[in-house]
Symmetry: C2
Subunit: 355 residues, 2 copies
Amino acid sequence: RSLSTTARKSLKIGLIPADGIGREVIPAAKSAIEALGSDIPKPEFIDLLAGWETFTKTGNALPHETVDVLRNECDCALFGSVSSPSKKVVGYSSPIVALRKELDLYANIRPVLSVASEAGQKAAVDLVVVRENTECLYVKQEEQIFTENGREARATRLITERASRRIGQMAFEIALSRPRKHLTIIHKSNVLSITDGLFRETVRKVPTLPGVDGKYDSVTIMEQLVDSAVYRLFREPEVFDVMVAPNLYGDILSDAAAALVGSLGLVPSINAGDNFVMGEPVHGSAPDIVGKGISNPLASIRSAALMLRHLGYIKGADRLDTAVDQVIREGTTLTPDLQGTSSTTEVLDAVLKKI
Amino acid sequence: RSLSTTARKSLKIGLIPADGIGREVIPAAKSAIEALGSDIPKPEFIDLLAGWETFTKTGNALPHETVDVLRNECDCALFGSVSSPSKKVVGYSSPIVALRKELDLYANIRPVLSVASEAGQKAAVDLVVVRENTECLYVKQEEQIFTENGREARATRLITERASRRIGQMAFEIALSRPRKHLTIIHKSNVLSITDGLFRETVRKVPTLPGVDGKYDSVTIMEQLVDSAVYRLFREPEVFDVMVAPNLYGDILSDAAAALVGSLGLVPSINAGDNFVMGEPVHGSAPDIVGKGISNPLASIRSAALMLRHLGYIKGADRLDTAVDQVIREGTTLTPDLQGTSSTTEVLDAVLKKI
Ligand SMILES: CC(C)[C@H](C(=O)O)[C@@H](O)C(=O)O
Ligand SMILES: CC(C)[C@H](C(=O)O)[C@@H](O)C(=O)O
């Protein structure tokens, strides 16, 4: 799954902190990457705009320049988080949803891992949510009509065989790379027999695609309705290994899984396509804590690690992950979301010392 | 919210156990109702068919007769649970979804309450999910087309002002009846600005409707995106009192909340409209434990209590709820889902003794 590993002289990384605590945690991830020295090609960072504040200033939440630079100049990117308006605002549309689509980043990969209390011990929660990232209700085809009974709004939920197949392939690859090799297909085909029926059936058929040739024979395939998946996630998270889900279910499931490991502030993700990868912490812009200097930088640093791993820089990725794990395990330098009393900077410094 | 309380000589209750453990728990609820004696009008039960097995025998998962009898002869009903086929089957469609629509049972009310370890103590989780029950993706308008890139399926998500308003009114009434009077509107309007925007805005406007006249001034209104609502539900469930949600989010949220109180086997619901009410345990048909005699009857007995309460039979409802609470609190006669070793019949007998 790694993108081309042809030797790069430098690594061009777009930085899109966007809104809220995105502006606190993305700079922290940048410092962590810089600390890797020669384990990765020399990083070059390019600051890019997006988000609600960008919208209020320019009328566009995702300036064309941001997309152009990412597409033409960057090897990868890190995205922070976006605030959304508290009411509907004409012309505003979520820049992260748009970016995923513009760059065809069709897989949102969200590993959720509780840190074992001792090194070498088994983690209680160790799963990956593989979320389809380009369709479902996120196609944002919505309309509203006026009737004699009042307004009626409709949204389209799109599920295609093509997108289901490629996310299915990604999920099988990830399952294959893990010790347990379990894949659970999440759907609600008892209600959505056609759309979720297509998703489920297409993912199930991945092992029979031409050229696969028994490669996935060792992967166990299971299924779970989305409602009971959330229930089981809380009752017996250990049953899950890799979960593959249409966009909206994946969104909800990854937040649910994050709750299991103590904080959204720990959960990283990448948005991956065939030609580009963008790291993104799963947490939001957290307007309630902006500017207090207490946002948790660990999800962003882990997102940087995931991004580097996806690009083939395993050693650099391992160093970031190991440093984060050590800081969590020691438990003395943590932000308040993890019941600690440290600041963003103190946590970053603790990580930098371990790198 | 109670349905007409004009004195009834008898109470005609439709029983639709449907599939799986529905056939074990609905008879238990029937016995519990019978034990109430003169606290309710003499119950008369009418057995009705629906479900997957009915489909395999008759080609129709919801026979017309079932709907006719419910509509024309019954005061209320109890529904068990349905199994769904493991593959798409032409002509099969979920009977519970159809029943909710046929009888216009527009509100699915799901109280989730952990039992305090001692009587009189405050429960750790005490919330009600008020789920819109007739639209959203459950309108089941789906289609599939064939393109040169493979199949493409689309489903329509419908949100109307009318349905959002009536579920909003129901939710405000329920919030008003509770000590904390908090109402959280669940949506995802950062992505679905038109459909979820309409839901959110319409519910918010309920207090300004003509005739409301300040009635809801004491209700605090909050909002939460559905993904972070699931996260917070696990991290700090005590922040929630009443949650009002479009259909699919409500489905997922009520399973999530059920996980907090130990078992889906405890969580009841009613499907309520202006003219009819149908109790329904939130759990499914549980094919893995069918026939073992260990299904938990408590959710169904609580659903019967909710149904009776909705009809205005407060004393009968209280007696059922109190008996169930006592059995849970004693903790000696519980089914395996609650780490007990008792059978369905033993738990039912324990409840009957307390009634
Ligand atoms: C901000 C929002 C549009 C986004 C999503 O729903 O995808 C977020 O919740 C996420 O999970 O990345
Ligand atoms: C069986 C299924 C159609 C149903 C639903 O999704 O409404 C169930 O999950 C529920 O919560 O009652």
